[in-house]
Amino acid sequence: MNYKNIVGVFLVFTTFNVLSQNNSLAVTEIPEELKKSANAVIRSYDVTVDLSSVNKMIVNTKRIITVLNKEGNKSIRAYERYDNNSKIRDIRAIVYDRFGKEIKKIKKNDFKDVSDVDVQTLYSDSRVKYLDYTPIAYPYTVEYISETVNGTTGYLPRYLPINSYFLSVEKSSYTLNYASNLNIRVQEKNTENIGLIREESSGIINYKTNSINAIKPESHSSPLENIIPKILFASNEFYYEGVPAKAENWNELGDWIYQRLLKDVNDLPTSTIAHVKKLVQNESDDIAKARKIYQYVQDKTRYISVQVGIGGWKPFNASDVDRLGYGDCKGLTNYTMALLEAVGVKANYALVHSGSSQQSFDENFAIMQGNHVILNIPLENDENIWLECTSQKSPFGFIGSFTDNRNVLVVSPEGGEIKRTKKYNIGENRQTISGECNIDSNGNIKIDATVLSEGIQYDDKYYLESLEERDLEKHYKERWSYINNISISKMEIINDKEQIKFKEIISFSASNYLNIVEDKMLLNLNVLNRNTYIPDRYRNRKLPLVIRRGFKDFDEVKISIPKGYKVESIPNDKIIETKFGNYKMSLKINGETTLIYKREFTLNDGEFPKEDYSDFRAFYRNVSKSDSAKLILVKK
């Protein structure tokens, strides 16, 4: 039987299916197990990808999904994107009530058609058609059918049986039919426990799964993307927006990116080249030159988002960015790269998944991916400097949590290479507080404090520099929200971009900080860095514990107590040591009126089995408890 016949038979069969088996769509048919923690249940999900040639891909999707409650509407995902290189041949939906009775048909023209842009983006040449349906009652079921034709075969659809939290699956399948001259690579991830069935014959790969339970989000875990089962497909030969390509590993894919997307866009006007050469003429080493160039780019350009040109992958010409003074991440990175080249510093374009969840490129499976671009400057001894070229404010070489510690694709004339971006280690992510706290006899306090932040803790705070006074004041009241009635008298910020250190000098007073009970005053000793956070409790933790970034806090506060009072019931010093981190608190009495409060809190990064989660919580609880240690001041 040839492949056309299969499709024909298949189509007839499905039609027949729908007519005769409507009752099977009744909500009562869903197994109880699949309704647990689910807002929606995929009843069946079938994707067929026909890669009939290197530049033609037809994707047929049929998905039947039962929505159990309002939150479940998000999982319907009845939409298709299209642009100059792809079109939607068919898109429609049928809605059924809880008994499986058809209540509405939605045709192609009733799908909403809008520009596919987010608020940030100024322009994009792709559009999206989506289903805009108002449910009449829950639960209900949507059958969604679509067919798209795409000339770009650079990404083959992934097989993702579930793609959101609170979503379970009854059954699903994925079929890839491909022309015999194409070489297909496949990679399976997280497929151990889903009863995956794989069948393969010449030109056909087929996957099936049954019964996958819903996943509930849990804090301190891997991003959903890394948890869900997924199967990736790639063709070694593909077309990208009318441009043919061939790549079977990262080196070749990187080479293709360099040749097709980067090689011809590094042009600069001679005047600019002369200017930057002059700018660095007194610098001898590459890092110093790069520093000057980075500053030059930061002062000259701004970031805008525009999605055009080879699927949004080709950068603007460097000369355009030079003239216009703006660009998107690709344009600005390419521009910086061209300037560095002009002054003899080698730098490479690097594709990355941005965001704090540290999503990595897989070393063993080369496929076009990423949503951001940064710049890599390779140093001797295998070290690297990474530059975020879209920021006008980042210090040189500082990428922060946006692109830290993950695999990225570095593209150079020699091809592609997977490299790991900078990891911010525990010792680098430091916050040091030194302060003085003066207590008066009415229970009010006056504070003078200096907070010094480095590493990721610098990243957390350096935006404060651009806040207006009003918002900054609010920020501090929120940071110390456990102190009521704060009135701030001094806020000074020193941002040392050279050393990447952020210093805050703050003075404030707060009335009634101490609880007064008759002739006693109750003092909560940790005034400036009290941990009030305790990770959420789960009755049944399912996912491993992940601590992405560690840190170290040091606090030292000199507390002066009012005249006429003496200290009673001093809390014991405390030391907590766990595999998740350490904690040390001590109190020293200096003479009659002064106490020295010291605290150290270290959190380690790492991955731990789910069984460790409750110990991790206990660690935080103990820290929290120790941070609420009190002593009594009594009138003499």
């Binding site: 002062d299 456990y482 109750l522």
Partner: protein, 662 residues
């Protein structure tokens, strides 16, 4: 004479030298920051001219020319280097267009002004959806310290004069606005905001070649052309140094306070004919809306629901009963599609059939059914929170409609678009000052939308304190009105496991059992939530003295009001009352050494009150807390009073009892 002339000349000379606002005439003065250098950017000059053009093929077209000059002060101000504008489309052929776009960026380098022109590749046009296009100008070469300038013209086939905004997140140094309106159009004009503006109005003559078709036979028409002389009203608005205005929390809509001018079409006539009325007074507004095919006519349709309604109202059912039944019928039958509107979109009949509709379809249908069932029901026009407060009689002032039933005890408001809304408990979006009840005879009256009845939350807790600091007990919460609506919205839509987990985590380490919710779906009764709980570590033992907070996890911890001052009213949306009844039984062998004092205070003008009463009876301590905010919206002059009230409440609720071992 000569003297006067030279004096005049001198003055002109001087003023030219100080600043030239013509397009492209950038001088060094533009680079010296004029107003508040704290601002990220400053609009040095804003000029806008709106005219009515006439030509034979398009008829009247509203032409608005915008010219702005902006100085960028900081990197945070770079966003002003991109200017986006939405343009309207009718969905059919007509659409607004932006033409004659030009712009340039100016940088001061080494004492010289450098100019970079905006080119076509910096102009992005985007087809957003059926009704909107977007044009963005991305100015080239913008840096800290740049001055940018752009100019463009919008041609609109729709006769709407876009709102004249004269206050932004950044200050405006100088603004000049000219609006010229031919006598064939009458626009209502409204001003919002606090900043004083100078407005002058003059009249002048204008001449155009006018083309029209005249009926010459039964169907035949003939083209005619003549010169038309008419008068034009010319408005000139001048303003200087308008300060910036930024958003604050707990403000219902900042645009209510920004300085702006609105023009809304009230009447139009063709040359040589009579006026077609749009709106001029509230009565006109009401009439125009009522007479619209998308409003009044829809109210009159009854055929589509007749049989269904007949079936649910028996001849002898009481009127109250009918309201109740019809309201619930509409809520369960037709679901809201998320669109606002005082006008129907697809029409009531189709909405009924399809079982989904916009606000107007659902609530006009409801009104019509109530009327049909013999009730004195009429639509009530509302401006939602996002639409701002309707201060002036304009058509756009209203964007929402609910049903109002007039009876002996006043008007009952009904909104069937929200599953959890109930009579007189409108969804939060619709709680915005006053609505206007519109009667068929054209009369109308203002209706206060804020509820008079307070939403009540009553929490009763029995707590057993163990000597080791752990507590166990039972919790019961009863909630009414708006608070009940919010509770239901949250609870009913949520996965139940998740709800419980969130509840436990919201009070860190609370362990909940026997969880129960009653009346979550029966809106006629208050919602009730109850559970048993355990919680560890609820005491501090300091040298044999035991400190507990008698409110335990219920004690308020953080003042929501952080700013020292506030310029806008505090909008709570509805009056509310919160009560705690807590009984604590002490561990055996412990005695009370000291307890907080009981207090009670009331705010001026009955804004609110707080009561904290603590008493002891043997080994039991009882705490009663009563906190009321009696007004839905409180003027800014009471900000510090309210902030202080919260401070005192927090201090009081966190006071402690000291116990000692006997």
């Amino acid at each position: 004479m000569k003297k006067l002339f030279s004096l005049l000349f001198l003055v002109i000379c001087f003023s030219v030298k100080s600043q030239n606002y013509n397009y492209g005439k950038i001088s060094k003065e533009d680079f010296s920051t004029p107003i508040d250098s704290e601002d990220d950017a400053v609009i040095l000059y804003k000029n806008r001219k709106t005219n009515f053009d006439y030509n034979a093929s398009d008829g009247w077209v509203v032409v608005t020319k915008i010219h702005q000059r902006i100085k960028i002060n900081s990197k945070s101000g770079l966003g002003w280097g991109t200017h986006s504008r939405l343009l309207l489309k009718s969905g059919e052929n007509e659409e607004e267009e932006m033409v004659d776009i030009k712009g340039a960026t100016y940088n001061l380098t080494g004492g010289k002004i450098e100019k970079t022109k905006l080119k076509n590749n910096g102009i992005f046009e985007e087809d957003l959806n059926k009704y909107r296009n977007k044009v963005s100008l991305t100015m080239p070469n913008v840096k800290e310290g740049s001055v940018i300038e752009y100019q463009y013209t919008i041609r609109s086939p729709f006769w709407n004069i876009k709102r004249v905004d004269l206050q932004y997140d950044i200050p405006i140094k100088k603004a000049e606005v000219k609006i010229n309106i031919p006598e064939y159009f009458i626009y209502n004009r409204f001003q919002k905001g606090y900043h004083p503006l100078e407005l002058t109005q003059t009249t002048s003559n204008r001449k155009i070649q006018y083309v029209w078709r005249e009926t010459t036979g039964v169907i035949a028409t003939e083209r005619r052309e003549s010169e038309l002389d008419f008068k034009e009203t010319r408005y000139l608005i001048l303003a200087n140094n308008i300060p910036s205005m930024k958003n604050e929390k707990y403000v219902n809509n900042i645009n209510n306070y920004r300085t702006s001018f609105l023009f809304e079409l009230a009447q139009y006539r063709r040359p040589n004919s009579i006026f077609k009325n749009y709106s001029l007074t509230w009565d006109d507004v009401v009439n125009t809306i009522y007479r619209s095919d998308y409003f009044g006519a829809e109210l009159k349709k009854t055929g589509y629901y007749k049989d269904d309604i007949d079936a649910i109202i028996s001849a002898n059912s009481s009127l109250d009963n009918r309201v109740y039944n019809i309201y619930n019928f509409v809520k369960s039958k037709v679901k809201w599609n998320g669109y606002y509107g005082k006008h129907v979109d697809q029409g009531v009949r189709k909405a009924y059939k399809e079982q989904t509709g916009n606000v107007a379809e659902i609530n006009l249908m409801l009104t019509s059914m109530l009327k049909y069932a013999g009730l004195n029901a009429n639509p009530v026009l509302i401006s939602t929170r996002s639409n701002g407060i309707p201060l002036f009689p304009t058509l756009n002032g209203y964007n929402y409609v609910v049903a109002g039933v007039e009876g002996e005890n006043g008007v009952i408001l009904l909104d069937a678009t929200d599953k959890f809304s109930s009579p007189d408990i409108l969804p939060f979006r619709a709680l915005n000052w006053e609505g206007r009840l519109v009667r068929e005879d054209g009369s109308s009256s203002l209706i206060n939308l804020y509820p008079e009845q307070a939403s009540k939350s009553t929490i009763s807790m029995m707590v057993k304190l163990n000597a080791n600091g752990d507590i166990e007990g039972s919790y019961r919460k009863v909630v009414t009105n708006h608070d009940a609506m919010l509770y239901r919205e949250n609870y009913v839509n949520m996965n139940k496991d998740q709800y419980l987990e969130d509840l436990e985590n919201s009070f860190t380490d609370l362990v909940v059992s026997d969880f129960q919710v009653k009346n979550d779906k029966d809106l006629s009764k208050p919602v009730m939530e109850s559970y048993s709980f355990n919680l560890e570590n609820q005491l501090d033992n300091l040298g044999g003295q035991i400190f507990i907070t008698p409110l335990f996890f219920l004690a308020e911890k953080e003042n929501p009001f952080k700013l020292e001052q506030r310029e806008y009213p505090i909008d709570f949306g509805y009056p509310s009352e919160k009560k705690y009844r807590i009984n604590i039984s002490l561990p055996e062998g412990y005695d009370v050494e000291s307890m907080p004092e009981s207090v009670a205070f009331t705010l001026p003008e009955n804004i609110g009150s707080f009561k904290y009463i603590i008493s002891r009876n043997g080994s039991t301590i009882q705490v009663l807390v009563d906190f009321a905010i009696n007004q839905p919206i409180i003027s800014a002059e009471y900000y510090s009073t309210i902030k202080d009230l919260f401070k005192q409440i927090i201090d009081k609720e966190n006071e402690q009892i000291i116990l000692k071992k006997m």
